[in-house]
């Protein structure tokens, strides 16, 4: 391969964006763009959209493996199915499911059969599990502390019927599983969020620290507090000490909140798998339905993440779902139910047996201790 001339490469700074709708939208959708007037659900996986022109399109929603991973082989098979039964296109949902597009219910059913035959379930609309979003974690990520794709697989195996609708839920359920506090699976604004944790303050590997610091000469000219790594820590847990010629980065464990910002910016931060676990949060949502958008709250600040079964995690998630199924009103998302019955009652129903939990500080690094200020009501038995 001979390298093209340089100016041509510089052209790479002018990005090629695939934004020409005309090129990517199937004809059927182009004709009815913005003209959809009604939709009908056929089971839990197929939606029929009706246009004011009278035309219809059927979408078939299919779950993918964790982290929306697809081999080129499978992609080609999907393309083939879409060509044979569909309208020559698929779409990827923003949450990593696939939608096949068809122009009749029969065609949609055929698609369903074929993908189910390949081992991919159809479902995920209405009062079901819409899917589990997983970040990439051990598949490609350097900062991961737990492996979200395999946790997702463990959860998916257990919650399968909730996706297909064989068993239904009070309302939509989505789960985000992130391998570390960066929360790439989408943060905490969702029904159930699972977030990997170090569990203990990081360890600093002195040997490679210099890679994350400015070159010695430049460093000598920067005030300690202005050094990037020091600035990155939100709580002041990291300070730089110059000892003669040497530089030491000190970590005050009492100040550390385990946010992982240091590690995100420097590979010298390490941890011990011994302490690693996940936090489980509940009751978030982005949608404005019911009580409106909200961040989830920490129900369980830590449980271990033990592959391959991840029993500790799946047990708690199942429990949360059971409590929700038992106590929710029809159509009530987890966030709305918790809001109605109260956090204390919810925690109680789940059976979290702790004598002390966090105090809501909203943002890390404020003056008050991040700890429990007990209320009488919550103490009552």
């Amino acid at each position: 391969m001979t390298a093209p001339a340089k100016p041509a490469k510089a052209e790479r700074l002018n990005k090629v964006f695939p934004v020409d709708l005309d090129k990517y939208l199937p004809e059927l959708l182009k004709r009815n763009y913005g003209r959809w007037v009604d939709r009908r659900f056929h089971g839990y996986g197929i939606i029929e959209h009706v246009s004011e022109t009278g035309e219809r399109v059927f979408t078939v929603k299919v779950a993918l493996p964790p982290n929306a991973r697809l081999s080129a082989d499978t992609a080609e098979k999907f393309a083939d199915i879409a060509d044979r039964h569909g309208i020559g296109a698929i779409r990827i949902t923003m949450a990593g499911n696939i939608e096949f597009l068809a122009d009749s219910l029969e065609a949609a059913q055929r698609i369903r059969e074929e993908v189910e035959g390949m081992g991919f379930p159809v479902g995920g609309w209405g009062p079901t599990l819409w899917g589990i979003n997983s970040c990439t974690a051990f598949l490609t990520c350097t900062t991961a502390v737990v492996d979200s794709p395999s946790i997702t697989k463990a959860l998916g195996d257990q919650l399968y019927e909730y996706f297909t609708g064989e068993k239904t839920l009070p309302a939509k359920l989505r789960i985000y599983v992130s391998g570390c506090p960066a929360m790439c699976a989408g943060g905490t604004g969702i029904d159930i969020a699972i977030v990997g944790q170090w569990g203990a303050p990081p360890k600093i590997r002195e040997e490679i620290l210099s890679l994350c610091l400015p070159p010695p000469k430049a460093l000598a000219r920067i005030p300690e507090s202005q050094v990037f790594l020091v600035q990155v820590c939100p709580t002041g847990a990291l300070t730089l000490r110059r000892e003669g010629d040497k530089i030491r980065l000190l970590l005050v464990p009492e100040k550390c909140i385990n946010c992982a910002r240091c590690k995100e910016n420097c590979d010298a931060f390490d941890y011990d798998p011994e302490n690693v676990g996940v936090a489980i949060l509940v009751g978030g949502k982005y949608s404005n339905t019911g009580v409106g958008r909200r961040l989830a709250r920490v129900l369980v600040p830590w449980v271990p993440a033990v592959p391959p079964h991840y029993r500790e995690i799946t047990a708690i998630v199942r429990r949360i779902i059971d409590v929700w199924r038992e106590h929710a009103r029809e159509g009530e998302r987890l966030a709305d139910m918790i809001d109605r019955i109260g956090w204390g009652t919810f925690v109680d129903l789940v059976g979290v047996p702790v004598s002390s939990m966090h105090y809501d500080r909203l943002f890390a690094g404020t003056r008050w201790k991040d700890e429990a200020y007990p209320s009488l009501r919550d103490a009552l038995r």
Partner: protein, 405 residues
């Protein structure tokens, strides 16, 4: 406080003050002005304040021998025509604030003889306030002591205690608020901390017989609230009668229970209450009393750190522990145990609650040598990362293991 701008000349000021006062003698609600007219209180001062839209009173002193708390003295500001002065005592109320007519008459008499014939029958903390004449202060102390009460409770001291009427008149009382109230007063340390200020700031003790908290123990530095463990007690037979009579709708009991602890079994006509879940809202009880009444396993809950402001603003007390309803002396001991670290380390004008916020609740417990009790989940965090100690983590590990079985 300086004279407000644009104050009219004295005569005009007094005229307007009078007009203002008259206004408040109209209307249907009982009038404080009409009531004050029946007394020797210098009403013109108050009227001038209303016109000026500034308090007409400045600080003054009225030293009374060996009385270090409970005496408040004011002098009218220099811009109040005719000036005037005002002194009042905070006097200890009777238990349950019962006033036999003989005692009430004595108070009225004293108030006329040595004061201006005016009382505040209860201060918002709980004291009885007598407005007196400065020159009779010494005598009033002696006469009050003679009829069985006394002056005290202001400044950085223990303030007038307050207990709800409890067993004297209320069906719901879960402990003997009035006996406990007496017990506190019998303790020498309480006496001394009422008599002489010495804490970083004031310290208030309030006692409520049940979770309805009529004595507002939730806003006390040290609050005591009667509670029970488990489910309310249900007399199923009596309840069925109430249901049949249409007095009680069991579905509504179910629905209105804020902790969803209630199930009404239609078939057997039985109300089942899950005691583990019941949060003692009293809702079922007050709706179906006496067929439903508080449970028998009685406790007294202790709340610490409440207050309306202090350094860090409004706070409701935090739950500390449970006491035995038959052991009021434990409560007295605990109060002083709680006072100790605050008294030693607290910055002046930090209430107990401010102190606790500064050191953190966990550290506060450590200083008391106490264990956390109860579930502390009122304010869950939104932040999914945190350094947790191993013991803490182990609790959750246990939970997941139990659920996984």
């Amino acid at each position: 406080m300086a004279a407000p701008p644009d104050l009219p000349p004295p005569e005009e000021l007094l005229r307007r003050a009078d007009e203002m006062l008259k206004h408040f003698e109209g209307g249907r609600w009982p009038s404080h002005v009409s009531e004050l007219r029946r007394t020797g209180y210098p009403l013109h001062v108050y009227g001038v304040g209303l016109v000026a839209r500034k308090s007409p009173w400045g600080p003054s002193t009225a030293p009374v021998q060996f009385v270090n708390t409970g005496v408040l003295a004011r002098v009218a500001r220099e811009w109040v025509p005719g000036r005037g002065e005002e002194v009042h005592f905070r006097v200890f109320h009777t238990p349950g604030k019962f006033l036999p007519t003989s005692f009430l008459k004595k108070l009225a008499e004293l108030s006329k003889k040595l004061g201006v014939g005016l009382l505040e029958v209860v201060g918002q903390t709980g004291a009885l306030v007598i407005n007196l004449r400065k020159e009779h202060a010494e005598q009033l102390v002696d006469e009050l002591r003679a009829i069985g009460t006394d002056v005290g409770g202001s400044g950085d001291a223990i303030r007038a205690l307050n207990a709800c009427v409890g067993p004297a008149l209320c069906e719901f009382a879960l402990f003997d608020t009035l006996a406990w109230y007496a017990e506190f007063h019998r303790d020498k340390r309480v006496n001394d901390a009422i008599a002489t200020p010495g804490f970083p700031y004031k310290f208030k003790i309030k006692l409520s017989g049940c979770p309805m908290d009529c004595a507002r123990a939730n806003r006390a530095d040290f609050g005591l609230i009667g509670i029970w463990e488990g489910a309310p007690e249900v007399d199923q037979e009596a309840l069925r009668r109430k249901v049949e009579a249409g007095e009680v709708d069991p579905r509504r009991l179910e629905e209105r229970c804020p902790s969803r602890a209630i199930t009404w079994d239609e078939k057997s006509g039985t109300l089942i209450i899950n005691g583990e879940r019941c949060r003692k809202s009293m809702n079922c009880i007050r709706s179906a009393f006496p067929a439903i009444r508080p449970g028998r396993k009685k406790k007294v809950a202790v709340l610490v750190g409440g207050g309306v402001k202090g350094r860090f603003g409004p706070k409701l007390g935090w739950f500390l522990t449970m006491l035995d309803p038959d052991k009021p002396r434990d409560a007295v001991g605990l109060a002083f145990k709680v006072i100790e670290p605050w008294d030693r380390e607290g910055v002046p004008k930090d209430r107990l609650g401010d102190y606790i916020l500064k050191v953190g609740f966990t550290e506060f417990l450590r200083r008391l040598g106490m264990e956390a009790s109860g579930r502390h989940v009122a304010n869950p965090t939104y932040i999914p990362y945190k350094v947790l100690q191993k013991e803490e983590r182990d609790k959750f590990l246990k939970l997941s293991e139990e659920l996984g079985r």
